[in-house]
């Protein structure tokens, strides 16, 4: 059970990370990154580090994403090819 969960989660992490890298739309990239952070939170929770997981959820996925979004708003949304 645990192994299956792990395998799914880890696959998801890699998939999201690669998606962040590939996304041309910066907004999309930031959103996917937020998803990535949340996935990571789950992994850590599962690994027995709940406090870390909560911090990551709040800061990594929350604050960082907000900051990125503000920045995108003030700069540009598109990555030039």
């Amino acid at each position: 059970m645990s192994d299956v969960f792990d395998a799914v989660m880890l696959s998801l992490l890699i998939a999201t990370a690669v998606s962040v890298a590939r996304a041309r739309d910066l907004l999309a990239a930031v959103v996917i990154f937020s998803l990535y952070s949340l996935t990571m939170t789950l992994v850590w929770q599962h690994r027995g580090a709940p406090d870390v997981a909560m911090t990551e959820a709040a800061v990594g996925a929350g604050v960082t994403t907000v900051l990125f979004l503000i920045t995108i708003a003030r700069t540009t949304r598109r990555e030039k090819p």
């Binding site: 890298a21 580090a49 709940p50």
Partner: protein, 116 residues
């Protein structure tokens, strides 16, 4: 969980780290670079959490009745600090990116480099 004799967690960390590094190094967009940096950071955090984990241990929260072994609290404290630092760095970087965009109208390194 072991994969081909390697702890899967470490494989993950390395893969994520590499993805982040790839973004940092080869993306031209500053925001993408910064995202890459963040990915790298999480990878390192993941490593620390993993390495600090003792198989079968409980979270290091003192609850009556539970007994050792705990997962060591120190790596988690490190990660917490690390996360804060990472956010600070990200914030500073984003501020700088905003400034750059305000000044040059672009956040693409390729274009910035061509500026005089």
């Amino acid at each position: 969980m072991l994969l081909f004799g390697l702890d899967l967690d470490y494989v993950l960390v390395v893969v994520l780290f590499c993805v982040g590094l790839y973004m940092l190094v080869s993306k031209s967009n500053l925001l993408k670079k910064l995202l890459g940096l963040n990915v790298m950071e999480t990878a390192v955090f993941a490593f620390i959490v993993t390495s600090g984990m003792i198989e079968g241990g409980d979270p290091p929260i003192l609850v009556a009745g539970t007994a050792a072994p705990y997962a060591s609290p120190i790596p988690q404290a490190m990660v917490l600090t690390g996360i804060v630092v990472a956010v600070s760095v990200t914030a500073v970087a984003l501020a700088l990116i905003v400034q750059i965009h305000a000044h040059f109208g672009t956040i693409e390194v390729d274009e910035l480099k061509e500026l005089p």
